[in-house]
């Protein structure tokens, strides 16, 4: 375990924005997640995956939903993955991404939560 916080850890441990000022370190990590969602294409990708059957979707389906090149979609999925918002699993030739709904819930709690 490192002293460096990951976005997933940061979002799981801190109080809501509105309760007390977030530390510099937490802000740094949480903003990684928000920045990842702060792009229209990535937000739609996240929503497509999260709302899909079983909370997961195949890249092949995602590519067709946009008029963007395949590498661009791949890039955006990587950003979401590295932010801790998507899990990735390769099955055969296909890659499946799964939404980490508990992370989304934690993020939501930090943004708008009143509890904790």
């Amino acid at each position: 375990m490192s002293l460096e916080l990951t976005p997933v850890q940061a979002v799981a441990c801190c109080s809501p924005l509105t309760r007390e000022p977030v530390s510099e370190e937490v802000a740094e990590q949480v903003s990684v997640m928000l920045k990842a969602l702060g792009d229209p294409v990535r937000l739609r990708l996240m929503s497509l995956v999260a709302s899909h059957q079983g909370g997961e979707a195949c890249v092949c389906d995602l590519n067709d939903a946009f008029e963007l090149s395949q590498p661009t979609i791949s890039h955006h999925l990587k950003v979401l993955h590295e932010a801790g918002l998507l899990e990735r699993e390769k099955r055969g030739v296909w890659a499946y991404y799964r939404a980490r709904t508990e992370v989304l819930a934690n993020l939501a709690a930090v943004i708008g939560g009143s509890e904790r």
Copy 2:
């Protein structure tokens, strides 16, 4: 009223990410808000204002919390204001920013909500 959605309207009317795919238009507007929060300095600013006495804070106090120039802080506050996350009120020489907690709550519901 315009046909164009504002970020505040978009975040108030749509279902959670995980329920159904967000439309292109909603994604465009919601991502404005997320992008605004997707910067460490702005996230801390938002938290400072929201967690402050009465949900509002004076710019003079905010400037002191960062080792950044006054115009830079002013710029970030403007971004948060234009995203619909902060309200602004001038009283005398001082400017006060107030967190729109209901907007934050709506945003949180879109991100991690399961209801609606």
